[in-house]
C-alpha cells in the first residue's frame, strides 16, 4: 500500500550535464498531504530535481513515479492527464506576459476543459482572491505587478485545476520578510483547505520551520537526510550543521519556538 501513501517516488535517479553528475542513486518519497521542503547548497540540483519530477528533464537513469506512474515514459493523453493533477509555480512566476493575470489563471482551464466563459471568469476571480490578491490585480499584465504579487499570481495559475500536488520553486525568494511570512501562511492555509501535497524548493529557513512537515537535504548528489526539521537539524554532517545551527537558523528556530509557546 506504500504507493498510495507516497504520491511521488524517486528511485535511483541519475542526472548529469556532460561529465558533471548532479544526482546519482537519488531516492526520495513524498507522502500524500505533506509539505516537503527541499534544501541544499547552490549547485546541488534542487531545481533540477523539481524539473525532473515534473518531466521537464528526462532522467539519465532511474525512475520518477508520480501518482504511481512513470513520468518519463508518459506520452500523449496519459501525460496530459497527469499534468492536470499537478501545478507548478516557477521562481519568478513564469506568467505569460501577453495575458492578464486573470487570463493566465484561465489558461489551464481553457486548454484542458470546456467550461463556459462566465464560469471561468468567476473561477479565475475565486483563485485570485484565494491567493490573497486584490481584485484590481485581475485585469493587470504581469509586468505591472510586484515580484511578490507575481508569485501569488503564479500560485493562482498553478491552482487553477485544483491539483493534488503543487510544486514551488523558491516561493519566498526575493520577498520581504512580511511578504514571505504571508506567503508561508497562505501555503499552509491552502494546503489545509485543499488537502494539497506541496513540494517546495527553498532556502528560506523561516519557511522550513514554519510550514514544512518534512525537510529533505540534497548533498553529495543524493538526498542525504529526510525527516522532520527537528531530526534533520541534528544530523552530524558538517554542511547541515552549519546550515541549521548558523545564527540565522537559530533565529528562525527561536521565532517558531516563541510563537508556539
Amino acid at each position: 500500500m506504500a504507493e498510495h501513501e507516497n504520491i511521488i517516488q524517486v528511485r535511483n535517479l541519475r542526472n548529469q550535464f556532460g561529465s558533471q553528475v548532479i544526482h546519482d542513486q537519488l531516492g526520495l518519497d513524498v507522502r500524500k498531504g505533506e509539505v516537503l521542503g527541499v534544501v541544499g547548497g547552490s549547485g546541488t540540483g534542487k531545481s533540477v530535481l523539481l524539473r525532473t519530477i515534473v518531466g521537464l528533464k528526462r532522467p539519465d537513469a532511474g525512475t520518477v513515479r508520480v501518482f504511481g506512474q512513470d513520468v518519463a515514459s508518459l506520452e500523449g493523453e496519459a501525460r496530459k492527464a497527469v499534468e492536470q493533477r499537478w501545478g507548478v509555480a516557477f521562481q519568478d512566476g513564469a506568467l505569460f506576459s501577453a495575458l492578464t493575470v486573470a487570463q493566465n489563471v484561465q489558461v489551464p482551464m481553457r486548454e484542458h476543459l470546456n467550461l463556459p466563459q462566465k464560469l471561468m471568469d468567476e473561477l479565475a476571480a475565486e483563485k485570485i482572491a484565494m491567493v490573497g490578491l486584490p481584485p484590481s490585480a485581475g485585469p493587470k499584465h504581469p509586468s505591472e505587478l510586484s515580484g511578490g504579487m507575481r508569485k501569488r499570481a503564479a500560485l493562482a495559475r498553478a491552482l487553477a485545476l485544483d491539483p493534488e500536488i503543487v510544486f514551488l520553486d523558491e516561493p519566498t525568494a526575493g520577498l520581504d520578510p512580511i511578504g514571505a511570512a504571508d506567503y508561508d501562511a497562505l501555503i499552509r492555509q491552502l494546503k489545509d483547505a485543499l488537502g494539497l501535497t506541496v513540494f517546495m524548493v527553498t532556502h528560506d529557513l523561516d519557511s522550513l520551520y514554519a510550514i514544512c512537515d518534512r525537510v529533505a537535504v540534497l548533498a553529495e548528489r543524493r538526498v542525504m537526510v529526510i525527516g522532520p526539521i527537528s531530526e534533520v537539524s541534528t544530523h552530524s554532517d558538517a554542511w547541515i550543521q552549519e546550515y541549521f545551527q548558523g545564527p540565522r537558523s537559530r533565529a528562525a528556530a527561536g521565532a517558531v519556538a516563541r510563537a508556539t509557546s
Binding site: 492578464t100 486573470a102 464560469l119 482572491a129 481584485p135 485585469p139 485545476l161
Partner: protein, 384 residues
C-alpha cells in the same frame, strides 16, 4: 481519478425546495451544470416558486468537491438568498464545508481584461497616444543627437577622452564584418540592374546606355541606400539589443553610479564608428555594383572591360560619386542614434528588448529612405 458524472436535481418540499447534488463536483465536471444552476437562481421574477421559501442544498451524495464545485455551491446559495430564499446547506462534511467557506471568503469578482472603453474612445485614445509618442520620439532623438554631439565636441577639444579601443572594436564589427554581405548584395544588384536595363534598352537599340544606367543609379542612389539598409538591419538592431540587455540587467544604472556617462561609454563610440565606416562600406558597394554591371554587360552585350570603363568614365562626373558618398555619414548618424536610443528605451523585461529591436530596425530603415529622398530633393534644387 474520480469517476462518474456530476448530477443535480430539484424537488419541492413542504417548506420550499431542495437541490440534491451527487457525484464528483470538480472543475472537470461542473461545466455542464453551470448554466442550469445559474438559471434556477437567475432573478427574483424568474426563480421558481418552490425556490423561494426554505431551500436546502444537499451535498450528501457528492463524492468529491473541489474549489470549483464549492464555488458553484456558494454562488447558487448566494443567488438564491438574494432572490429571497432561506438557504441551507446540508450533508457536507468538514472538508467540504471548509471549501465552501473558502469560496465564500474568495467571493470577490474581478475584471479579466483592462477596461478599454467604447470603440470611439479607444480610437481617440490611440490617435492621441500615437501623436504624443511621435512628438516625444522626435524630441528624444534630437536630444540624443545633441548629447552625442556634445561628447564628440569634448573629444575634439580633448582627444584623450575618446574611447579609442571601443571605437575601433565597433568599427570592426559594423564595418569590416559587414564587407562580405554588402559586397555580395551590391554586386548582385548591379548585375540585375544591368541585365534588366539591357533587355529594355535593346528595344531602342540603345543597349550601350546600360552602362550609364548602372553607373549613375548605383553611384548616386542605390549603393548608399542598400548599404544603409543592410547596416540598419545588422548593426542598428545589434546596438539596440546590446544596450537594451544591459539596461535590463541594470548595467546602465551601475555605470551611472560609478560616475561613467553611458552616452560617452556606449553611444558615442558606436555613432563615431558607424559614421566613419558607412562611407567606406558605400565606397565598396559602389565598386561592387559597377563590377556586377560590368560582368553582365560583358556577357550579355559583349562590351569589353575597357569599353565599359570608358563608358563609365564618360557617364559619371565626380559629383555623381560624391552625391552618393556624402549622404553616408548622415544616414549612419541616423541609424546609430536610433539604434542606441531604442536600446536606452528598453524597460525591465526581455520582451521589451525584442519589441525595441524590431522598432529600431523599422525606424532606422524608414528614416534612411526618407533622408535619402530629402537629399534627392536638395541636390536637385541646388543642381549638383
Amino acid at each position: 481519478m474520480t469517476s462518474g458524472f456530476a448530477r443535480f436535481e430539484t424537488q419541492e418540499t413542504a417548506e420550499g425546495g431542495q437541490i440534491n447534488l451527487s457525484g464528483p463536483w470538480t472543475v472537470r465536471h461542473v461545466g455542464e451544470h453551470d448554466s442550469a444552476l445559474r438559471a434556477i437562481a437567475s432573478s427574483v421574477s424568474n426563480t421558481p416558486r418552490h425556490m423561494q421559501g426554505r431551500v436546502v442544498i444537499d451535498l450528501s451524495a457528492v463524492t468529491t468537491l473541489d474549489t470549483a464545485g464549492a464555488w458553484i455551491v456558494h454562488r447558487t446559495r448566494r443567488d438564491l438568498a438574494e432572490a429571497g430564499a432561506d438557504v441551507h446547506i446540508s450533508g457536507a462534511d468538514a472538508t467540504q464545508s471548509g471549501l465552501i467557506e473558502l469560496a465564500r471568503e474568495s467571493d470577490q469578482p474581478c475584471d479579466v481584461e483592462p477596461d478599454r472603453g467604447t470603440v470611439l474612445e479607444a480610437i481617440a485614445e490611440r490617435m492621441g497616444r500615437a501623436v504624443v509618442t511621435l512628438v516625444s520620439e522626435v524630441v528624444a532623438m534630437l536630444n540624443m543627437v545633441g548629447l552625442v554631439l556634445a561628447v564628440i565636441g569634448k573629444v575634439i577639444v580633448r582627444p584623450r577622452t575618446l574611447r579609442l579601443t571601443s571605437v575601433v572594436s565597433q568599427m570592426e564589427r559594423v564595418g569590416l564584418n559587414a564587407v562580405p554581405i554588402v559586397a555580395l548584395l551590391t554586386f548582385l544588384i548591379g548585375a540585375v540592374l544591368a541585365q534588366q536595363g539591357a533587355s529594355q534598352l535593346k528595344l531602342f537599340g540603345a543597349e550601350v546606355y546600360t552602362v550609364n544606367l548602372v553607373a549613375i543609379s548605383m553611384l548616386r542612389e542605390l549603393a548608399v541606400l542598400i548599404t544603409a539598409i543592410i547596416v540598419a538591419g545588422r548593426s542598428g538592431s545589434a546596438f539596440t539589443a546590446e544596450i537594451g540587455s544591459m539596461k535590463v540587467r541594470e548595467e546602465i544604472d551601475a555605470m551611472r553610479t560609478l560616475g561613467m556617462d553611458p552616452i560617452a561609454v556606449l553611444v558615442a563610440p558606436r555613432v563615431i564608428a558607424l559614421v566613419l565606416m558607412l562611407p567606406v562600406l558605400t565606397f565598396i558597394a559602389d565598386i561592387m555594383g559597377l563590377l556586377g554591371g560590368g560582368v553582365v554587360t560583358y556577357f550579355a552585350l559583349d562590351i569589353s572591360p575597357q569599353i565599359y570603363l570608358q563608358r563609365v568614365d564618360a557617364a559619371v562626373a565626380s559629383n555623381t560619386f560624391f552625391v552618393g558618398l556624402i549622404k553616408a555619414p548622415f544616414l549612419a548618424m541616423a541609424i546609430a542614434v536610433i539604434g542606441c536610443l531604442e536600446g536606452m528605451r528598453v524597460t525591465g523585461s526581455a520582451e521589451s528588448v525584442g519589441e525595441r529591436t524590431t522598432s529600431s530596425v523599422v525606424k532606422a530603415i524608414f528614416t534612411v529612405i526618407v533622408l535619402n529622398a530629402l537629399f534627392a530633393i536638395f541636390f536637385t534644387a541646388v543642381g549638383y
